[in-house]
């Protein structure tokens, strides 16, 4: 029983990590149909922000908190730059953006290698986040995972508020639903695109800060997580926050439960099979925007 509870907790927290990574992707994917393969490298940028910051600020707790907004800004700025320099020219060719951003991701990885060195770097987590909350002797909830869960929840809430209740959000949604119509309605789609990219990439930076608590910080850290995040977005449905949230937690739980009873490899393969099966049922993902216009 304890085992099932702690596995569920693990599953939910895997889901939270997936969600944190997928949120930004979902936004940019949904907005522009842009598959940003460099998203993983924005995560990496967020993680390195913590590393650099800790050279200046020694207190682990403060440095992590301060890193959150800075990582958001750093990764967001990289996203805007990417949008401005390349993606802007490729909106008509979504598949080509996939390849172009893959190229960008290679360059960013190598740049990280040249700047920070090929080996993983070390960051310090505040003591409060390396401990855990003991429920029973066997059941403990680790603080770093609780923190990430909270962070993911916060990100979802913040993003929902922005999309629902601000004029920027209304514009973003308008552009998602009908770019041409939005443009003729006087919405500066170019600026909206850039802002969307800023927020989406910024969220990757935040995810990067969170990942320093869990895993390695190195040039290839982004590639480890990006495919799973894409699957979340695809299965969740383009441009649907709700879909990403549900699918992320479903996948996380599924993964952790299969993993427990079989092996990590088998779990990965089965999760993939599950997604193909799911897309058979809902080829456009869990939620879809339905319009009458022809493809």
């Amino acid at each position: 029983m304890t085992v099932i509870v702690s596995q569920l907790f693990t599953g939910v927290s895997i889901g939270a990590v997936l969600l944190l990574i997928a949120l930004g992707l979902s936004l940019t994917f949904g907005q522009m149909g842009v598959i940003n393969m460099a998203h993983g490298e924005f995560i990496m940028a967020g993680a390195y922000t913590v590393y650099v910051l800790q050279k200046v600020i020694t207190g682990a707790g403060w440095s992590l908190l301060i890193a959150l907004p800075i990582a958001f800004a750093v990764a967001g700025a990289m996203g805007v730059l990417l949008e401005f320099l390349l993606i802007r020219r490729l909106y008509a060719r979504p598949l080509d953006t996939l390849l172009v951003t893959w190229g960008v991701s290679l360059i960013l990885q190598q740049a990280a290698r040249d700047i920070f060195g090929a080996p993983n770097v070390q960051t310090r987590a505040p003591d409060a986040l390396t401990g855990n909350i003991r429920i029973t002797d066997d059941l403990v909830l680790s603080n770093n995972r609780l923190f990430i869960l909270a962070l993911a929840a916060l990100a979802v809430v913040a993003l929902t508020v922005v999309l629902r209740f601000t004029s920027l959000g209304r514009r973003i949604r308008a552009v998602v639903q009908n770019r041409d119509l939005a443009a003729v309605s006087g919405i500066p789609t170019g600026r909206v695109d850039r802002l969307t990219f800023f927020i989406g990439s910024g969220l990757a930076g935040v995810a990067g800060v969170a990942l320093t608590l869990l895993g390695p910080i190195g040039p290839t850290m982004g590639t480890n997580v990006i495919i799973d995040a894409f699957l979340v977005v695809v299965a969740g449905g383009i441009g649907h926050l709700k879909g990403s949230v549900i699918v992320a937690f479903a996948l996380g739980t599924l993964q952790s439960l299969i993993e427990y009873s079989t092996t990590v490899s088998v779990a990965k393969v089965l999760v993939f099979v599950a997604i193909v099966a799911f897309l058979q049922w809902r080829p456009q993902g869990l939620f879809t925007l339905r319009t009458r216009s022809m493809a």
């Binding site: 596995q7 090929a118 066997d138 390695p216």
Partner: protein, 413 residues
């Protein structure tokens, strides 16, 4: 249009004809079909090959090995070279890709005509180049601890085989009364083979194995595995994870409330360099099994550490695979000098009993297995990021890649 088509058909016909007429020897038909590439030793210099991943995922580890090989080559050149000839290192990038390793090995042997090649890290890259070296009758010096069960006539193994690292690690756990063990490893040859050996050892030594889990290489999600480890209430964990996974594993381990005091982890792939990237916050007091640490006492090591730091930076630690790579160049030099020739057959013949005062202590080549006698050392990670020895085997352990000297190991290979 028609003339073009005609020409094309003609070309195809030629191809078929060539393929049919140019058939070479059948397998087993002609023993001397390949005489092997001969090293070019005609000039003032002799080329040696350095084959390491300088890009890709393995670059993290392999660049340091390349650096220490270069250090050895420079030192040897500064002291007059080998048989009066200076060494000319040719460095190739295996790019963390096994077919590329095979390709570059072939290039070093056939195009550059090097006298010996130093390098490779993963078992997969070694398996990929092994046929190349055997086919061309060229020498490879492999500097990393590995899973044993191999003995190629053209490879010298200067890292530990299982009875010089894993078995001592288990002996140490047993001596500490840690008799229930959980096995965690990356999903590839070394951990799987190591764990096979561990299970055989456990069966014969009254240890129980409470579980065995593998994570794909590069996997960074250890929630489930750590849950399983915790639930098993093992007295120790034997860790054969590699690379990035270690970082995630130890972060998870600590946040689950597991510590070195309650459930120590013995790692066989975490050296000083990895400690640096994981952080002592997570690793303090955990155990490692190697043959060399930066802190290993002795004049030879002091000299090595000092030279390495002088060349590559004071913050660069030295580690076991780096030391084994460094030593491999000196061992080759000693073999060549004993043989009085660069010729592979003669060098091989001269290998048995060649010794070198290495940073890890005296090492001796066992000609029969082409492995070396090494001292086993258990270390503990300190707060300063260095590893200090807590136990050693006293004298160099004879290499036994097939574990023939261990009764419990019969049937393993």
């Amino acid at each position: 249009m028609y003339s073009l088509r005609g020409r094309r058909t003609g070309a195809l016909l030629i191809a078929v004809a060539l393929a049919l007429t140019a058939c070479g020897s059948k397998t087993g038909e002609n023993e001397s079909s390949s005489s092997g590439a001969v090293a070019d030793t005609s000039g003032d210099t002799v080329k040696v090959g350095l084959l390491n991943s300088l890009s890709g995922t393995m670059a993290i580890s392999e660049v340091t090995v390349r650096d220490s090989i270069k250090l050895a080559v420079e030192e040897i050149n500064a002291s007059g070279g080998v048989l009066g000839k200076k060494l000319e290192p040719i460095s190739e990038d295996g790019a963390s890709d096994w077919p590329t390793f095979a390709e570059k090995a072939e290039k070093l042997i056939k195009e550059d005509r090097v006298a010996a090649v130093f390098g490779c890290w993963t078992s997969a890259s070694r398996k990929a180049v092994k046929p190349v070296f055997e086919e061309n009758k060229a020498l490879l010096f492999y500097p990393v601890q590995y899973e044993g069960l191999e003995q190629s006539p053209y490879i010298f193994y200067t890292g530990a085989t299982t009875n010089q690292q894993i078995v001592p690690g288990l002996d140490y756990l047993k001596s500490q009364g840690k008799t229930s063990v959980y096995l965690v490893g990356s999903d590839y040859v070394f951990p799987r083979t190591a764990n096979k050996i561990i299970k055989a050892y456990a069966a014969a030594n009254g240890m129980t194995i409470l579980g065995e889990d593998y994570a794909p290489l590069g996997s960074t999600e250890f929630g489930t595995i750590v849950n399983k480890v915790k639930a098993s209430k093992a007295s120790a964990v034997f860790n054969t994870l590699n690379g990035d996974s270690n970082v995630a594993f130890f972060k998870e381990y600590k946040s689950a409330g597991l510590t070195a005091a309650t459930m120590p982890v013995v790692s066989v792939s975490i050296a000083e360099e990895e400690v640096k990237s994981i952080g002592t916050q997570y690793l303090a007091d955990q155990l490692t099994a190697w043959n060399y640490y930066q802190t290993t006492p002795g004049a030879a090591n002091e000299k090595f550490v000092k030279a390495y730091k002088a060349k590559y930076g004071a913050d660069k630690p030295t580690s076991d695979p780096m030391e084994a790579a460094y030593v491999s160049v000196y061992l080759w030099k000693a073999m060549v000098e004993k043989a009085g020739s660069f010729e592979v057959a003669k060098v091989k013949a001269a290998s048995d009993g060649v010794t070198f005062e290495a940073p890890e202590g005296t090492v001796t080549i066992d000609g029969a297995t082409q492995h070396i006698y090494k001292t086993a050392r258990i270390g503990k990670v300190g707060g300063d990021g260095l590893i200090t020895e807590v136990w050693n085997s006293g004298s160099p352990v004879k290499p036994d890649p097939y574990l023939k000297g261990y009764a419990w190991a019969t049937g393993l290979s």
